[in-house]
Symmetry: C2
Subunit: 339 residues, 2 copies
Amino acid sequence: VDKVKLLDQRRLPAEELYLETRDYHDVIEAIRTLAIRGAPAIGVAAAMGAALGALSLDTRDGKEFQSRFQDICREIAAARPTAVNLFWALDRVLLVAQEHADESVDAIKAHLVTEAQTMLKEDDTTNRRMAQAGQVLIRDGQRVLTHCNTGALATGAYGTALGVLRAAWEAGKRFSVWVDETRPLLQGARLTTWELGKLGIPYTLIPDGAAATLMHQGKVDLVILGADRIAANGDTANKIGTYSVAVLAHHHGIPFYVAAPLSTFDFSIPDGDHIPVEERDAEEVTHLWGQSVAPAGAPALNLAFDVTPHDFIAGIVTEKGIMEPPFTSSLKPYRPAQG
Amino acid sequence: VDKVKLLDQRRLPAEELYLETRDYHDVIEAIRTLAIRGAPAIGVAAAMGAALGALSLDTRDGKEFQSRFQDICREIAAARPTAVNLFWALDRVLLVAQEHADESVDAIKAHLVTEAQTMLKEDDTTNRRMAQAGQVLIRDGQRVLTHCNTGALATGAYGTALGVLRAAWEAGKRFSVWVDETRPLLQGARLTTWELGKLGIPYTLIPDGAAATLMHQGKVDLVILGADRIAANGDTANKIGTYSVAVLAHHHGIPFYVAAPLSTFDFSIPDGDHIPVEERDAEEVTHLWGQSVAPAGAPALNLAFDVTPHDFIAGIVTEKGIMEPPFTSSLKPYRPAQG
């Protein structure tokens, strides 16, 4: 196993194009350009990229290998700043390399490949546990609103928030989904619709600005969406537009849930103020498929994420069950021991 | 004068294309397809279309003329359901035709042409008065958020909410504007940016879902936007996404203003529940410039407007000054006498 195959999400739903590569630079580029996206998927891809990078190192010297492997991981870490799964995955492969530092370089490479594959499998298991834990929230006849894409595409295999809906559907519950199109990159319009369609779950696509009106009309019973990084107090960074949905749900008395694996929690930061929010190219707002929707040179702000304070969150669905407020207490058993 | 010239707003900002027509059906089509849009502009266009329709009638019989002219007005009235300026303008030209019913058909036609031209001039005057009344709200250094397009393009000439900003700028105040792109038809991205750019007013374009985050960061000092129909109690129908902005502004303690001429008020309805909200083709959500952004056949909901309850509105800027809550009291002097 010396190559990585990934679905180029930028082409969806028009085209199902797979990229195949042996070069970890391509994996970085795929993460940077959102060919691969979604916090858990980024984590797995980072581990795969690191393994490819390790395989490409031509040294037999253990010390040199460790040092160059660390450089590769640093390079991958710079691809995107917000999703903590990226750093979590890289910390994990770095640890594997260190733990086996006394073995041959070839042996370490094999361990790294295995670890990346294990992480892909674990992601699937974690997602399915999370989905089972969360599906109790979904009831027959509900109209659920979601934002961005949190399905199989955003993860190793099953999905986080969309995984919860999938498990509920598979358990025989019947409900429908309002899909926020999620500007600027339309992950809702392009990806969530595509996944819900394949699963046979009924949905209706809406512009992001219409969610409030549907809430006012009593047509939204529950909100569930994903996360890119969750601080120790439960403050949650997620796709831009999430905080808007959270405030609106709060105003209309609608429960707002987040679904994310424990690998999305960053216990090293006390609250959301410490989460770096990526600002991306203004062209993602001013252009669509290369065509301009605004006057040439129009200034635009493209915050990729926003942070939802924990008091707007009714619960966080994880593979260890649904965490309830106060999150500092409910999350305590899962906090890594302080070093 | 026997033709109407209008700027096709669908092509902006890429192209400044003018349509010129002698056929009132073209005016209906322009209103229906949003080549012309914005409540006041729709009102003026409707009057112009009615005048063109009158000119096209080949009868010399007064009674037949009145009857066929009424049919034409009914046809124009069916172009769009929400903006009340459409019905207001048609009521006004119908009244002109009736008041001169004892004159020759040619004389009535001339009166109708004059009336349409008067309405265009009045719209400009009204807008400028409104702008002067409203510009006191704007202070140096403010960061103002607006939604959709309410400038010269949306009116006969000067603009409503954007007219207020324009007058403030011309009065020497210096501020900046957050422009909601306003999905699905991107009137903010395409038109408001274009107009602000021409006026030299600094702005930044944002996806609709980012407004909440900027509010949370304390970067929005005031919201001002337009209206398509205002009920007697101040409940305001405007472009979809407006209610969302209103709730978010309320939550963050940011004053939310509406700017609209008295012709946008519908005193015949007590509240917003009685405002018909146009539902447009799902393709406006699933496609952009003919290109699909969602899977083929993806179900989408395209509400063109939403209704903001009056309690979210700090004031309504009109040509008679800024109306303050409770609106039933402040608007009382401008209510037409009950028939």
